[in-house]
């Protein structure tokens, strides 16, 4: 009889040095042996002697407890709560003991993490990715959408536009005459001002530079309730004609453009050849509705000028609600005024109403759908990360049930074990959270770099990593750690005794196995939602990219030129300057052809108006079709590669005093002249002069996308530049070389004619097209990144659960193989188990995705939110990745040696 083995088998492991434990075992074995031998020599039978020896230690757990009691100082053994009451009331000592306990728990946790890297690394990574991505995106969401605008009571400020439902124009610029009528008749607004984009040419360091700013009436600043950081805003008197010589500048322009001179106030700057006195410098990063502006200047209009203005200009109104007036009341009143104006001025106002929109909404409305989608997506990622961590903690706790059982047996109270498990969870969350903050900073920088100037996100430059958000995500990660640490801990400690009794072989109860399965299903379902969303956006983006804009963008150089009205007072002066510049550009050797257009396609807002056929009865006001109008020079269509379908191009002969002519688009012909030739027919186009222009159609060209690639093509009327000159032209130059190599020679050609006219917005036409794809691209890239993250997390999660499951089923699999199961059948068994969970997750995910992808609709082009190809491919991808993640554990299952499996303990 080996008494030492007897003792070793029964004595629960003691948390004391191994050598000491060996001594105790040796000493005890000697005693039992002696008792046994003595009983034998006293005439007892073998069994009786054994029973006598065994009775020396009737209760091994109590014995181990007593040994531990004797071997270790009291402080280390008792739960702190007990110790606090048992110890003499020395507060310092008690606190010291608690600290000591905590340190011990932490040390133990760190050791157990280091021992289980397969658990620790994915768990920390999942938490860090979840916390990092969420913090970065939500910082942007908060900064851009939730942070109050830097105005006085911003919720009282509204932005006012004209709206025409039948023309699908919900935010249209405002007719100056209507603005005046609003101003005279409304009772809703304390202040009502007008503002619109403006560009001025400043001579900086001896070079002309086009600078973007805003033209704004003085009441705009009163409505916003802002004051400059230095100086003052302009007064209502300075708004008036003749007092135009004052300007306010942005803090940024003051620092970079004007060298940050402290004596800037009162100095005179020259812009567009005219002097302006600088009267104010705005606060840093100040914007109106998120529009970056480097200067603010007056309209210099009189009321008479406003009243007699034709057309709708480029401005809209900004107003502050009078105290006690609600937004709805203001909207009602403005609609009523608009209805009256419609009757008074049917020609201008038929079909037109007013949109009164909170300024916060206007500022964020272009970016809101994308941001909300991204915020939703990143929340899903966080959720998946949390599920993953829960998974890992749960799997780990079941593995650890034997250890917990042992420690319970050794007298560790349930609360003591819970505290230990909680310490581990919290520590894990803290490590994950800290890594997450580091990742958040990196993500944040990456996000800003990705968006940069590609998408006009208001106030993006003011977005910093938001520590409220970081705190929130940290709390979430701690909460996840606590919840999913605590529940398994409760389950584990409750089952600890059972675990010991069963020899720790079946550590995982069906309860925890079900829980794990549920988590896998959830993880797969959540990932599928993200993948489906990303898939739809990618598909939509591919379709967007393959849209034919109607011209050949490659090999075309573009640059905008503004002829300042101070030196080119009439349209004719400007047009002559442009035509001479084009002449000079054509002399550049690499230039194949050069032309000009006012308002390049896909480069921002353009000109539009209504028109009608003069050879048919005149339609009523408000029932006339709308069209894009573009003044172009000869050769424009050839240079841009727009197909010429019928008639002729413009020539030098189509001058200002020649008969008015037009080239129209194929779409206009389809709509207005079905089945007949438009050549020689006449159109009345409401533009250029009060009575409009009566033009003869001399040519037909292909359709071009003007506003965006995905918008419907609108009819277009092209008019020779000399007949409709607005002092603003974008040169388009076709070359066989890399287009931007022309920059300096084109610039020199223009400057040789006028050294004070700069090139602005120098870009290739391809870049112009590409810029319109920036937003869908960034959204697709981000959502794909999140989906990839989700896929990775799901893969890791499935791997973790399957690896754990195979480890748990070692014995069962071993028995199966001992009974003749082939490795292939075991492989199928394990993979089948995984496949069932994954398919359940996919099914659930498809249902959820079908419900959620509808939210993407606003961001999709020519792609149904339920696109079966995308859904199918997504589901397939997820199943493949899941199978890949299950492959390694399944292979391990097939390599279990039956004997080893039976021994597995």
């Amino acid at each position: 009889m080996d008494w030492r083995a007897y003792v070793r088998q029964r004595l629960p492991a003691l948390d004391i040095p191994g050598s000491r434990e060996a001594e105790i075992v040796e000493e005890l074995a000697l005693q039992l042996e002696a008792a046994h031998d003595r009983a034998l020599s006293a005439g007892a039978s073998g069994d009786e002697a054994f029973a006598r020896a065994a009775s020396e230690v009737p209760d091994w757990q109590a014995f181990a407890d007593a040994l531990l009691h004797a071997e270790r100082p009291v402080a280390a053994r008792l739960p702190s709560a007990v110790r606090l009451s048992a110890d003499p009331p020395v507060p310092g000592a008690a606190r010291g003991a608690v600290m000591q306990d905590l340190l011990q728990d932490i040390r133990y946790a760190v050791r157990s993490f280091l021992r289980a890297p397969r658990f620790t690394i994915p768990a920390v990574l999942a938490l860090a990715l979840g916390v990092g991505a969420t913090s970065a995106i939500f910082s942007v969401v908060r900064g851009v959408m939730l942070e109050p605008l830097p105005y006085a009571s911003p919720d009282r400020i509204v932005s006012i536009w004209e709206a025409n439902v039948s023309l699908n124009q919900t935010r249209n610029v405002v007719s100056a005459a209507n603005f005046l009528a609003w101003k005279e008749r409304n009772r809703s607004f304390e202040y009502l001002g007008l503002t619109g984009p403006s560009r001025l040419i400043f001579i900086l360091d001896g070079q002309p530079h086009e600078v973007s700013g805003l033209i704004a009436s003085s009441e705009v600043f009163a409505a916003l309730g802002v004051q400059p950081a230095m100086g003052r805003t302009y007064t209502a008197e300075e708004d008036l004609e003749g007092n135009a010589g004052v300007i306010m500048i942005s803090h940024e322009f003051w620092r970079s453009g004007l060298g940050g001179r402290p004596d800037i106030l009162g100095t005179t700057v020259v812009a567009n050849g005219r002097p302006f006195e600088v009267i104010g410098v705005m606060p840093p990063r100040f914007t109106i509705e998120g529009q970056r502006a480097d200067f603010y200047r007056t309209y210099a209009w009189t009321l008479e000028a406003l009243r007699s203005a034709t057309g709708r200009g480029t401005s809209h109104a900004i107003a502050r609600l009078r105290d006690g007036v609600t937004l709805a009341q203001a909207q009602d009143e403005m609609r009523t005024i608009a209805a009256v104006l419609e009757k008074e001025e049917p020609r201008r106002n038929t079909g037109w109403s007013v949109a009164v929109v909170p300024i916060h909404e206007i500022t964020t409305e272009t970016i809101r759908p994308a941001l909300l989608i991204l915020a939703g997506a990143v929340l899903l990622v966080l959720l998946i990360a949390c599920v993953n961590v829960a998974n890992l903690l749960l799997a780990r706790s079941t593995v650890r049930q034997r250890e917990l059982g042992l420690r319970t047996a050794l007298g560790a109270g349930r609360s003591r074990l819970l505290r230990q498990m909680l310490t581990e969870s919290l520590l894990l969350s803290v490590i994950g959270g800290v890594a997450g903050i580091a990742l958040a900073a990196a993500f944040h920088r990456g996000l800003l770099a990705l968006v940069a100037d590609r998408i006009p996100v208001p106030r993006l430059d003011q977005v910093t990593l938001d520590f409220t958000v970081v705190g929130f995500t940290m709390a979430l990660s701690l909460g996840t750690g606590l919840l999913f640490g605590l529940v398994p801990a409760l389950m584990a400690t409750a089952m600890a005794n059972d675990a010991l009794r069963e020899g720790g072989r079946h550590g995982s109860g069906p309860r925890s196995r079900r829980a794990l399965g549920t988590l896998v299903v959830a993880e797969v379902a959540l990932s599928l939602v993200l993948l489906a969303g990303a898939g739809l956006l990618i598909r939509s983006f591919v379709k967007l990219q393959s849209i034919d804009p109607g011209f050949r963008a490659e090999g075309v150089f573009t640059a905008r030129v503004n002829a300042p009205s101070a030196r080119y007072p009439t349209g004719g002066d400007a047009e002559r300057f442009f035509s001479r510049a084009l002449e000079a550009i054509r002399q550049i050797p690499a230039v194949q052809s050069a032309a000009g257009i006012s308002f390049l396609p896909l480069a921002g807002p353009g000109m539009g108006t209504s028109f009608y056929r003069t050879d048919l009865p005149i339609p009523a006001d408000g029932e006339r079709p709308g069209t894009e109008v573009r003044p172009v020079t000869p050769n424009y269509f050839r240079t841009m590669g727009i197909p010429h379908l019928a008639g002729r191009d413009f020539t030098e002969a189509d001058s200002a005093d020649a008969p008015l002519v037009a080239v129209v688009s194929e779409g206009l012909v389809r709509r207005m002249y079905p089945g007949e030739s438009p050549l020689g027919k006449r159109l009345q186009v409401a533009i250029g002069r009060a009575e409009g222009m009566d033009v003869e159609i001399v040519g037909v060209v292909g359709d071009v996308r003007f506003a965006s690639l995905d918008a419907e093509t609108r009819p277009a009327v092209y008019i020779p530049l000399p007949q409709l000159s607005i002092g603003l032209v974008t040169f388009v130059v076709r070359t066989g070389m890399e287009p931007l190599t022309l920059t300096s020679s084109v610039s020199a050609a223009v400057r040789s004619l006028d050294p004070e006219v700069p090139l602005a917005d120098v870009r290739t036409m391809e870049a112009v097209v590409d810029a319109t794809l920036a937003r869908p691209r960034v959204v697709a890239v981000l959502l794909s990144a999140f989906a990839a993250l989700a896929l990775l997390l799901a893969g890791v999660g499935i791997y973790g659960v399957m690896a754990y499951s195979v480890a748990q089923r070692t014995q069962e699999l071993g028995v199966r193989m001992a009974l003749g199961a082939t490795p292939a059948s075991v492989f199928r068994l394990v993979l089948g188990q995984s496949l069932r969970l994954v398919l359940a997750g996919v099914a659930l995910g498809l249902v959820a995705a079908a419900g959620l992808t509808r939210l993407l609709e606003a961001l999709l082009y020519d792609t149904a939110p339920l696109d079966p190809w995308t859904f199918g491919a997504t589901a397939l991808l997820l199943v493949l990745v899941s199978m890949l993640a299950s492959y390694v554990p399944a292979r391990r299952g097939t390599r279990i040696a039956p004997v080893e499996a039976l021994r597995a303990d």
Partner: protein, 118 residues
């Protein structure tokens, strides 16, 4: 038979104190190993006091930790090594004090409850 594990009605200090006294008293003399110690207690009490290993060793280890007894592994020719315990000077002092206490305690008991036969 009197067990050193007593019923819940007994005071733990009495139980603990008596067991400690017994062990210290037996070790006052030559060094003994654990089994020997248990045997001596059993023999001297005519089998009325019996220490199970489960009681003895935790007690011994605790006394050792408190510096009252010292254990030492001793290997004798032809035998397996055993751990022998003897009283330390502190143990001797403690034994003297305990004896005094118990004597006083027993006298008091006797006076009040007439524990001893007349």
């Amino acid at each position: 038979m009197l067990h050193t594990y007593m019923d819940a009605t007994d005071t733990t200090s009495l139980q603990k104190g008596s067991a400690e006294l017994l062990v210290l008293a037996v070790l006052d003399g030559p060094a003994r190993h654990g089994y020997e110690l248990a045997q001596i207690i059993e023999t001297r009490s005519d089998g009325r006091l019996r220490f199970q290993a489960a009681t003895l060793y935790p007690l011994l280890y605790k006394l050792e930790k408190r510096g009252l007894v010292a254990g030492k592994w001793v290997e004798k020719p032809g035998e397996r090594r055993r751990r022998f315990y003897r009283l330390t000077p502190a143990g001797k002092t403690m034994l003297r004090e305990r004896r005094k206490l118990w004597r006083a305690f027993l006298e008091a008991l006797d006076q009040v409850a007439a524990v001893r036969h007349a």
